[in-house]
């Protein structure tokens, strides 16, 4: 059975290696301030869309510009090189992955939105 034990060891070693790589690859949740310190590392920022600031889309460069508020309440201008996602304004939380340009803006590579349950309309029954 010696060889079987050896194999088990080798597999464990590979597994440990794979998991190490995985953990190192995992990004971190950050605030805009942390993101600017970590540049050029990619981070994930969870926050909200600031509806008081303009959301503009420049169609010739296909660049979306908006302002987001992170969990600490800090604001940052965000650039995203895709058209505005559907129902963007209705999102109650947005998850941005990307990197900070330093201190002026955040470049988002990906945006994931958490929308209020699409059953929100159900509230119409409870108000009657």
């Amino acid at each position: 059975m010696k060889r079987n034990h050896l194999i088990a060891l080798v597999v464990m070693a590979f597994l440990a290696g794979a998991l190490m790589v995985t953990i190192q690859d995992a990004s971190t949740y950050a605030t805009f301030e942390m993101a600017s310190k970590k540049t050029p590392e990619s981070v994930t920022v969870v926050g909200q869309l600031d509806l008081e600031e303009p959301i503009t889309f420049n169609s010739s460069t296909s660049m979306l510009r908006f302002t987001a508020v992170d969990k600490d309440g800090a604001r940052s201008i965000v650039y995203y090189n895709q058209p505005k996602p559907t129902d963007f304004e209705r999102s109650e939380e947005i998850t941005l992955t990307g990197l900070s340009s330093g201190d002026t803006a955040f470049f988002a590579q990906n945006i994931l939105m958490k929308c209020p349950s699409k059953y929100a309309d159900e509230a119409q029954f409870s108000s009657k």
Binding site: K2, L15, Y29, P54, N81, D87, T95, S126
Partner: protein, 829 residues
């Protein structure tokens, strides 16, 4: 009280069938269990090696209970389908998931859109498969059916929808809106004809437009049949280990394992086909947590199915096989937990909403996991010990190694997918705070998963290529040489192809060669040494199919080209912008094509955009017209518009395109020449910077008239206006009033224009914050030019992938058919 127009009897029937299914499952578990766990049944075969006779009355009771359970399940399905088909919107489930204008074929999609519905389809498949055990499992019937009964008991509890001591157990699809906890006691629930009086009951919310696709009619039931198929190997393994028959169970479980491999594999890739055709994320696989969660059990099931051969032929590796078989089912449960608990909210686009069943889901998962673990630990000693090492050139040795490689792959995918769960457990705000800061999923999922999974795929394809040539016990060198022709051929062919395709990553080239090797060697083995008949074709075609899936995925993704390139870079580390702007009537270059946008048209609730693709002439100008595509936007006022791709299929490549942005305003709005819509929330005295050159100030909010209903004090009519001043940076200034009115429940947003400055305002309503109002601004377009933004990709050789899926399905069916047909001397390789 009788409510007019309400089908409360049907709701009652649905509830009744649910309870019937629940108690039937309970009876199945108890009666089969009582029969099974008699001391003599558990001590294995009798002295003569014969299985002990079943205890008849209990066995009959068990079967009867399972029949009742099945009637209940079919009843549940019938009632729910009837309710959806008849548009009974007093049912909460029907109201949430369907509408009157839903085409007939999507009634099924509506049936399994919700969590309750997908539980029902899963339960249904378990019930169907259970009957195969009742009819054919023979001595295994009482053991496996006890397990099935327990699983069904737990699953039907998920749709019970009852409260025990204030704790919600399950969520029933037969709840009427009137009965929802948040509506209980509201005045309208006591009105006899509430269904007629309240307009909201006239139509449902409708099906999510993303799911209105034919793949969504067949993908979920196929996937769930695949999920359900993992129950049988699990049930056999548990029964076998409890009965101290830790090896014998694999023989009857084997065909089911391959059935599961085939169906689940097909189901997963049907989901891929749906994503490719209906979602505009530009591909068939995105390493989305929900996709991963269904892939992982498939991987372990593949490992289990292959290991079963070792147990069958060599009577070894019983432990690992049982672990893999049990793991497959447990991972299906885990994937259910992941997708339904809402824990993936931050990391997945398509997880379900939380129905408040987390506790129940975790209990279910914990119960079965701990139970399986204890069983394995307690009975590990009953495994026969093999003293000798397997020979290095034996098939069993490499099958074990191969399954361990698959296990590594499965563990890695699970780990990365579970990062949100890990945060809940050991994150800074978790149960046991170990981590200093929460882990976030990798920012570049493709790079992340590929860094591990591509090497795994290389090893797996090498194993697929060579292990079928090996023999049990040991392989003579003469037989090993049979691999050489396909090895040489694939080095040459694969090498040439890799050279031609010019992958930017060396690993991709290696995978291409090993993938070709896996395909060629299995074909070679089948045609030259196994006679090329259908009976022996299961292994070869299954492997060939999987090799094609790997190759198709590799080439179509690795050599995917965005032909719509916009030379605007956001950041040096980010890919170039893949949106290209096409003005109406213009033709723009998308190497190797020239693309023209000729116009748009509306068909039903689709807005189609006609684009023509031209070749490139020698002088680099547009050549002759090649084909036309019509990507469209599905307009859905309730859930938002959905961009849908359109694809030109060639045998060797797909040209895939979708409209990423289009001006969706009505023709009148467009004619008015307003563009650059912008939203803002304003209160009195607040200022907003608009269009980067104006300052908008809300001077005051004027209430012009208001009328109350005398009895209730509610507002009947209200007329108000916002006084706004717009200041340009050059000093020009203009003040206007924007009206806004309310009549009962109807609000009328008003519009007004700053004529001199060229800005229009719409007063949209009241914001959630008190004293603030929602406004929309447009500015006069300098000159009217219609345009769309288009994204277009070429996916080379994606048909290899789809062909692979078909081959794998055929291969696994042949393998299953062969095991069902029974043993017959098969030619040795």
């Amino acid at each position: 009280m009788n409510f007019i127009g309400e089908h409360s009897l049907w709701a009652l029937a649905g509830r009744f069938f649910t309870y019937l299914a629940f108690t039937g499952a309970l009876g199945t578990a108890i009666f089969y269990g009582l029969n099974w766990l008699r001391p003599e049944a558990c001590s294995g075969p009798d002295e003569l090696g014969r299985p002990r006779p079943a205890h008849e009355p209990f066995l009959r009771a068990g079967r009867g209970a399972f029949a009742l359970h099945s009637i209940g399940v079919v009843g549940i399905l019938t009632v729910l389908l009837t309710a959806i088909l008849s548009h009974w919107f007093e049912f909460d489930y029907v109201w949430r998931h369907s509408s009157r204008d839903l085409p007939l074929e999507y009634v099924f999609s509506a049936l399994w859109e919700g969590q309750e519905g997908s539980f029902i389809i899963w339960i249904f498949w378990h019930a169907v498969l259970g009957w195969f055990l009742v009819r054919g499992a023979k001595t295994w019937e009482h053991g496996t059916m006890t397990v099935v009964g327990l699983v069904q008991l737990v699953l039907t509890s998920m749709i019970l929808g009852i409260y025990v001591f204030g704790i919600k157990i399950g969520s029933s699809p037969f709840v009427l809106i009137r009965e929802l906890p948040e509506n209980l006691g509201l005045p309208w629930t006591t009105i006899k004809d509430y269904m007629i009086r309240i307009p909201a009951f006239r139509d449902g919310q409708g099906l999510n437009p993303l799911l209105q696709n034919y793949w969504m009619v067949i993908h979920p039931p196929t996937l769930f049949l695949g999920f359900a198929a993992t129950l049988l190997p699990f049930a056999y393994a548990v029964a076998g280990w409890i009965e101290r028959r830790p090896l014998e169970w694999v023989t009857p479980a084997l065909p089911w394992a391959y059935f599961g491999v085939g169906v689940l594999g097909t189901g997963i890739l049907m989901g891929g086909a749906w994503a490719y055709e209906a979602l505009s994320f530009g591909g068939f696989w995105a390493w989305d947590p929900v996709e991963n969660a269904s892939l992982v059990p498939w991987i372990t099931l593949v490992a289990a199915a292959h290991l079963m051969f070792i147990v069958k032929k060599k009577k070894t590796s019983g432990g690992l096989t049982a672990i893999m078989a049990m793991l497959s089912f447990l991972l299906v449960l885990y994937s259910t937990f992941l997708t339904r608990s809402g824990v993936l909210g931050d990391s997945s686009v398509h997880s379900f909403v939380d129905l408040g069943l987390n506790g129940q889901l975790m209990l279910l998962l914990g119960l079965f996991s701990v139970g399986s673990l204890i069983l394995l630990l307690v009975r590990w000693r009953s495994l026969p010990r093999s003293s000798a090492d397997e020979a290095f050139s034996s098939r069993e040795f490499w099958l074990v190694i191969g399954s361990l490689v698959l296990l590594i792959s499965a563990v890695q995918i699970s780990f990365s997918t579970s990062i949100p769960v890990l945060n809940k457990l050991i994150g800074p705000e978790g149960l046991v705070p170990i981590l200093g800061e929460a882990m976030a999923p990798p920012t570049d999922v493709f790079r992340h998963y590929h860094s591990i999974q591509i090497p795994v795929a290389i090893v797996v394809s090498l194993f697929m290529a060579m292990v079928p040539f090996l023999r049990w016990d040991s392989t003579p060198n003469a037989l090993l040489k049979r691999i050489l022709p396909s090895l040489i051929a694939s080095l040459v062919l694969g090498g040439l192809a890799a050279w031609g395709l010019k992958f930017d990553q060396p690993m991709y080239s290696v995978l291409l060669i090993t993938g070709v090797f896996a395909a060629l060697s299995n074909l070679d083995l089948w045609l030259r040494y196994q006679g090329g008949g259908w009976r022996s074709g299961g292994q070869a075609l299954g492997h060939l199919g999987f090799a094609f899936i790997l190759l198709g995925a590799l080439i179509s993704n690795g050599k995917k080209v965005a032909i719509s390139q916009n030379p605007v870079f956001l950041h040096k580390d980010f890919p170039a912008n893949e949106n290209i702007l096409i003005p109406l009537g213009d033709t723009v270059s998308m190497h190797p094509y020239w693309v023209e946008w000729t116009g748009e048209r509306v068909e039903g609730h689709f807005q189609l955009f006609d684009v023509n693709f031209y070749g490139t002439a020698e002088d680099q100008s547009p050549g002759k017209k090649l084909f036309s595509l019509a990507p469209y936007i599905q307009m859905n006022p309730r859930m938002g518009n959905v961009r849908e791709p359109s694809t030109k299929h060639y045998w060797d490549r797909d040209v895939y395109t979708y409209v990423s942005f289009a001006d969706m305003r009505s023709p009148e709005e467009k004619a008015s020449g307003w563009s650059e819509e912008m939203d803002a929330t304003m209160g009195r005295g607040e200022e907003v910077f608009v269009f980067e050159e104006y300052m908008m100030r809300c001077d005051s909010i004027i209430v012009k008239s208001a009328q109350m209903i005398e009895e209730t004090g509610d507002l009947a009519t209200l007329d108000m206006a916002a006084k706004l001043t717009l200041k340009h940076m050059d000093g020009r200034k203009e003040t206007i009033e924007v009206p806004y009115g309310v009549r009962g429940n109807e609000a009328t947003p008003g519009e007004a224009e700053f004529v001199n400055l060229g800005v229009k305002v719409r007063f949209d309503g009241v914001s959630d914050e008190p004293g603030r109002f929602k406004m929309k601004f447009w500015r006069k377009a300098p000159e009217e030019q219609e345009f769309i933004l288009l994204q277009a990709f070429i996916f080379p050789y994606i048909n290899v992938l789809w062909l692979g899926v078909v081959l794998m399905a055929v291969g696994t069916s042949l393998a299953v058919a062969k095991r069902i047909a029974g043993p017959k001397p098969s030619p040795k390789p």
